[in-house]
Amino acid sequence: MISFVAFSLRRAWQGFWRNGLMSLAATATVVLMLALLAGLIILLTGLDATLDYVQQEVQVVAYVKDSATAQDISGLEASLQRMPQVTQVNFVSKDQAYRDFLARHPDEADVIESLPTNPLPASLQINLRDPNDYLDVAGYLNGQPAVDRVMNIQQTVDQLVTVIGILRIGGTVILIVVGLIVLFTIVNTIRLAVVARADEIEIMRLVGASDAFIRWPFIFEGAFVGLLGAAITIGLLFLGQGPITSFLSDYFKVLPVEASATVGQNVALIVLGAGAGIGVLGSYLSVRSYLIR
């Protein structure tokens, strides 16, 4: 058993390098596919987290007209508090909004400080018991004279859902097409490996080698291609970790910090599994059609 595994691995390794150029080309297509896969997973994870956040934290934000008086605002606050759908109401004054903005975007301090007046509106931030009540509360606010406009979160949510859906379907279709190309390349690589070993295979049959001894080296060779591709992809992702993380935190501010670590781990595992899987599948198909008789 040990000698069988050792033998198969040794032959797979030899076979990989004997046909080096083709093997490396196949590996490159695997890297392409896995990089696409990883990119898609990372992007979708970010978008999904954003969607979750937005949906969970449904807060109605109503910008208050600058002309509204303190009485208007406290009256509005009180009537909102009485609504059964509302759990909490916070008032963010113009000054508070200004400070919040500076804290969040220190780079843009010059721009905003150079303005003659504070452009940021005061707002009411209303937390809801159930996100589905959003329209009721937003409708009520829209009718209030002190309210300038209600931020339409529903629209954001809908857009996000659409984008995620398109990405998911489009990405899957592209992945399937690329996957088929990769499969085809691996099948061909292993077919060439089988052809290169035709004499050896003939001798193996004559001296009574079992089918396992004849086939498994080729399966392992395909697995090598897939695993090497996965290793390279993971290496590339590791090198690109910095840019990827800052991309994630820039575009998906809501993503918790620790999430990027688990995302990285999951992506690495998926890449490894997908690489090995496609390598083994390709060589298995090749062995089936070119070797078994």
Partner: protein, 259 residues
Amino acid sequence: MAMVSAATPGPKPSQTRRPGERPHDAVSTRVVLAMQGVTKSYPNGRVALRGVDLIVPEGDFVFLVGPSGAGKSTVIKLLIRDEVPTKGVVLLDGRDLARLKRRDVPRIRRKIGIVFQDFKLLPNKTVRDNVAFALEVTGARRRDIDPAVDRVLQVVGLTGQANQLPGQLSGGEQQRTAIARALVHNPRLFIADEPTGNLDPLISWEIIQLLLRINDLGVTVLMATHNAEVVTAVRKRVVALENGRIVRDQTGAAYHRED
């Protein structure tokens, strides 16, 4: 492993032999191979064998002769189960080869050592590694391989050339390497399909001497050949095929019919 006596599955020896030829004690001899009523037609319609009956007891040395296309190589392909008979039975060591499950074929093949006119050596492996290959690919343990290879290289007299590549060997030495590889599993039956076809007469003689020695060690030998000189000189059993039929089966015989 079941051994078959010559009397059970095969035809009566007296039917395949002419009177006065090899006396054959059917009951007491172990039979290595038996063919009964074997017909083989290839998918393209060519009929290569027609009703062949052949029994080879253990320890026999058999020359399979006949003109080109007579069916000699077809007999061999049936024995190594490269082909299955269209009709009839082929028994090897008592096993019906046509009924063999796919996964049992390799084990049966290890009971047979075979060499061909083209030696089928791997050009990038040394003599030693070519021989060791047969053990490696059948799952032999590492520590058993070296002694077994040494032993057969000694039998064929290639100890000194163990580390040379086939390209650095004479034709005779290449064939001896192939013979060593065929012997390394301790086969019950040694088959040679025109082993001297690519060799000059002197070297051919060396190879025949080697096969006779292997036969002396107790291995049954079946050799298909066109080499009339050799066949006639060693006076062993001769089975002559013509057009897919056995037309002569004689012990101590010459290449050509002598009556």
